[in-house]
């Protein structure tokens, strides 16, 4: 399965798609990236005259790359035109260390902890362009074809 096939199967679109590309993917994990555009809708309100990427959006970016893209890859043999990926976020625990400003590129590194009975649980990190740790945590969701 190619990177463009995975991204095409994502159930998101602008302004809520937070995946630009995937550098590496295997049954064990994924590395992908996204650059926050200065015109993202949430910067207008978070915060007043002081745009900083909301933690929930960083978590969303980590879930879209780290869980959903990886999950689509893991389900690749079951997906077809009649069986599109069905997804639900079920839990996350996240710690944040640094802010992410408009125009910053972030890299998501996710390691699969368990994928059984349609539950995918991953250990996920978010790094900035300097390679500094921005956030890390555990994200779980249900994924099926």
């Amino acid at each position: 399965m190619t990177v463009s096939e995975i991204i095409a199967l994502l159930p998101y679109q602008k302004p809520f798609l937070f995946v630009d590309g995937i550098e590496a993917i295997s049954d064990e994990g994924i590395t992908g990236h996204y650059t926050f555009n200065k015109d993202e809708t949430f910067y207008k309100g978070h915060f007043k005259d002081n745009p900083i990427t909301p933690g929930v959006i960083l978590t969303e970016c980590m879930a879209q790359i780290g869980l959903v893209c990886l999950g689509i890859y893991l389900l690749k043999d079951e997906l077809n035109s009649e069986h599109q990926p069905q997804i639900a976020l079920t839990a996350h625990q996240m710690d944040f260390y640094l802010p992410v400003f408009p125009e910053e590129k972030v890299t998501v590194i996710s390691e699969k902890e368990v994928f059984r009975f349609n539950k995918l649980k991953c250990k996920v990190q978010l790094l900035n362009e300097k390679g500094e740790l921005v956030a890390r945590g555990i994200i779980s969701g249900m994924m099926k074809a």
Binding site: A88, T90, F117, N118
Partner: protein, 83 residues
């Protein structure tokens, strides 16, 4: 293992995942994991994985599909332990 011992072990396993405290207090063989305890589907998977660890057994998709209440969980664990 007696049925009572098995229920005690299952009760300890499900306790972190329950939403309905009252139903949990009155847990019996007829208690349904989703309808009574209001456990979500992802936590039901956690329970299955915890049962595997606790009893050192391996559960399959067909077991997961049947494991809807305490009674069926007990039956599946007993079958696996006997096998």
């Amino acid at each position: 293992m007696t049925n009572q011992e098995l229920i005690t072990k299952l009760k300890a396993i499900v306790s972190p995942y329950i939403q309905d405290e009252e139903a949990f207090k009155n847990l019996s063989e007829d208690t349904d994991f989703i309808k009574d305890l209001k456990i979500n589907s992802a936590n039901l998977v956690d329970i299955i994985l915890d049962i595997e660890d606790e009893f050192d057994i391996r559960l399959e998709n067909e077991d997961m599909e049947k494991m809807l209440d305490v009674k069926s969980a007990m039956a599946i664990v007993n079958t696996k332990l006997a096998g």
